[in-house]
């Protein structure tokens, strides 16, 4: 049984339909990456999964239990198994609580009174490689990388089965970014964690994700194993995204495929293929609406796929 099963998830805010039907699954221990431009709905997907954003239609099952639109009384015990890492590392920590209170807050919320909270705080700080005297600090005394690690400690406190991580490395220096990804990889192996990770850094995706889904305007347009997508991207949008990844080599010969224009407004979704107005490879057939088709685990929504 898959750990997380998202089927045709839809979210709208009034007339703006942010998610127009997103489906994917995550197996236990698997890392799944969601990539796409700003505004493609990545963050809404994971917020809708954890019940922090509304989802009007579709289904989210976690370990077989339907949780879309579930009331807080159902969600709260589940959050023990399903932790969030938020995008803004400092903003997601209450400025008035010490690091000790922050990383032991999950135990209090879950009513786990028999735990020795001080000992747990020390254990968690060590796990994320922070000095134990940080327990008495406040968030403003931390650097971005350290605040990130506190976020990881909080997310891992209750040994969840799934982590939903929104841009876990955004704004970090490359050396610190490596440390954080190594930490997540290590914990994943030790604890068998599954992860849904949102990032627009494709180099990061290559090193952490088993499978990836590419989102455009609130829909998946391509999905497959990370290796397949990097080697053989079939959707023109995926190809554009991959080609837009600047390489740290001044002599790299990039065959860059430029995206035309801006993402269309969600209030005026284009007819037919929603990417066609910006697609450098659009054909006449693209005025028809492409269906989601899966071939050997490689999903695609395109009528004129690249070979």
């Amino acid at each position: 049984m898959s750990l997380l099963n998202v089927v045709d998830l839809k979210t709208s805010y009034g007339p703006v339909n942010v998610l127009a039907g997103v489906s994917f699954t995550v197996q236990p221990g698997e890392t799944y990456a969601l990539v796409g431009e700003s505004g493609s709905g990545k963050t809404t997907v994971i917020r809708a999964i954890s019940g922090l954003a509304p989802a009007q239609d579709g289904s989210v099952t976690f370990e077989g239990q339907e949780i879309r639109g579930a009331p807080e009384r159902v969600m709260r015990p589940l959050r023990k198994d399903m932790a969030m890492m938020f995008q803004d590392p400092v903003g997601s920590l209450s400025p008035r609580l010490t690091i000790r209170s922050l990383i032991t807050e999950p135990y209090r919320i879950q009513g786990m009174k028999d735990k020795d909270l001080d000992a747990e705080a020390m254990r968690l700080l060590e796990m994320v490689n922070l000095p134990t005297h940080f327990a008495d600090r406040y968030p403003y005394q931390l650097s971005g990388g350290q605040a990130r690690r506190v976020g990881v400690a909080r997310a891992l406190a209750l040994e969840p089965k799934l982590i939903l991580a929104d841009e876990p490395t955004a704004g970090l220096d490359v050396s610190v970014q490596g440390e954080l990804l190594n930490l997540l990889n290590d914990l994943r192996e030790r604890l068998g964690l599954a992860m849904v990770i949102i990032t627009h850094n494709l180099s990061v995706v290559r090193h952490v994700a088993d499978r990836m889904g590419i989102m455009y305007l609130g829909r998946l347009v391509e999905e497959g194993t990370t290796e397949t997508i990097f080697r053989d991207p079939r959707h023109p949008y995926t190809r554009c995204l991959l080609s837009a990844n600047p390489e740290p080599d001044p002599d790299a010969r990039l065959e860059r495929i430029a995206l035309k224009g801006e993402p269309p407004s969600l209030l005026k979704r284009p007819s037919g293929c929603e990417f066609r107005e910006r697609c450098p490879f659009a054909k006449d057939i693209c005025t028809q609406t492409p269906e989601w088709e899966v071939d050997g685990g490689h999903g695609l929504r395109c009528l004129a796929p690249l070979s």
Binding site: V174, G178, R206, E247, P248
Partner: protein, 326 residues
């Protein structure tokens, strides 16, 4: 050297704090030539922001310029009058900031803001608006005349950053400072901004000082690179030299750490263990030695000078000491 535009000459800047002087910049030396794109790379706390605010003299009140000069077209900006600095800012030197969502005034239209920054010009309002529309067109904003009537919230992040670039270039500055202009944007927009900057640089021939911690962007855009660590320049040189023939262990480690560099999926990514030293309480010797895997006895006692290794390539590391040509 008639084509040198900006010379940073042995600049040292401190911040006075309750814990003593924080040595934010120490002995910084590099040049920017006319029409050249120079990248400054370095991690958080390396002094990039202090450097930019020093060039513009927009520094915090506890800033102390201890030594050195910042010469722009031969004139030392640290000695210039405030009036002269005001004449330079936004005219000869302009800047694009990191966060496009906070650069613009939310309650004024883009057109009004673009009019306001032309306050020095004697042109008519209609001419100024036409100039504004032309600049928006130049950065690839479709239908610029109509867009001038809109407010910042009606534009996407990428468009706002391009508008910020258009505004910075309106006065045809000799020097454009770009402070991490793509950090808040995603990869496709980042590429759009880089390509736009390259085009505009060819058109306007301004020099660009491009600050970033994204090595891929630096490699693609810049002619020369200055690598900073903990308030000091550790290496500077032509972009190919820096990426292919780096002479400082920090530069090499930084490039190794970039996951874009590693093509095969790696289980463990390289990192640089350790922390940046406390700038209020500097250790003696080389600033990087605690994190350097090639540190020698000499590194603990003497600060390595920024030596010229060959024409235009400088590095501050004792490992190179046989190679010094000057």
């Amino acid at each position: 050297m008639t084509d040198t535009l900006l010379e940073i000459d042995h600049l040292s800047v401190d911040y006075e704090t309750g814990r003593g002087d924080l040595k934010a910049l120490r002995d910084i030396t590099f040049d920017v030539n006319k029409g050249e794109i120079v990248g400054i790379v370095g991690e958080s706390g390396c002094g990039k922001s202090t450097l930019i605010s020093s060039i513009l003299r927009l520094t915090a009140p506890n800033t102390r310029f201890r030594e050195g000069e910042i010469r722009f077209k031969g004139q030392d900006l640290l000695q210039a009058s405030e009036r002269h600095m005001r004449d330079l800012r936004g005219a000869d030197i302009s800047i694009v900031f990191q966060d496009p969502m906070q650069t613009h005034n939310p309650v004024l239209t883009i057109g009004q803001q673009m009019l306001d920054i032309q306050h020095r010009s004697k042109q008519s309002k209609a001419d100024k608006l036409a100039h504004a529309a032309k600049m928006l067109g130049a950065v690839g904003i479709p239908d610029p005349e109509a867009r001038l009537k809109q407010y910042p919230h009606e534009f996407s992040g990428g468009m706002r950053q391009r508008i910020a670039i258009a505004m910075a270039l309106m006065s045809e500055p000799d020097l454009l400072i770009a402070d991490e202009p793509t950090t808040a944007l995603d990869a496709t927009l980042e590429v759009q901004i880089i390509e736009r900057l390259q085009e505009l640089q060819r058109e306007f021939h301004c020099a660009i000082l491009f600050i970033s911690h994204h090595l891929g962007v630096i490699a693609e855009l810049c002619d020369r690179v200055v690598v900073m660590y903990a308030g000091a320049v550790v290496e500077s040189g032509e972009v190919r030299e820096i990426f292919h023939n780096s002479k400082h262990p920090y530069t090499r480690r930084l490039i190794e750490c970039d996951p874009g560099h590693i093509k095969e999926r790696a289980r463990v990514l390289p990192t640089i263990p350790g922390e940046v030293p406390d700038l209020a309480n500097l250790p003696g010797g080389c600033i990087f030695r605690d994190r350097c895997d090639q540190a020698m006895a000499r590194c603990a006692t003497e600060v390595p000078p920024l030596d010229q290794l060959k024409e235009g390539h400088h590095a501050a590391c004792w490992l190179n000491h046989e190679e010094v040509t000057t």
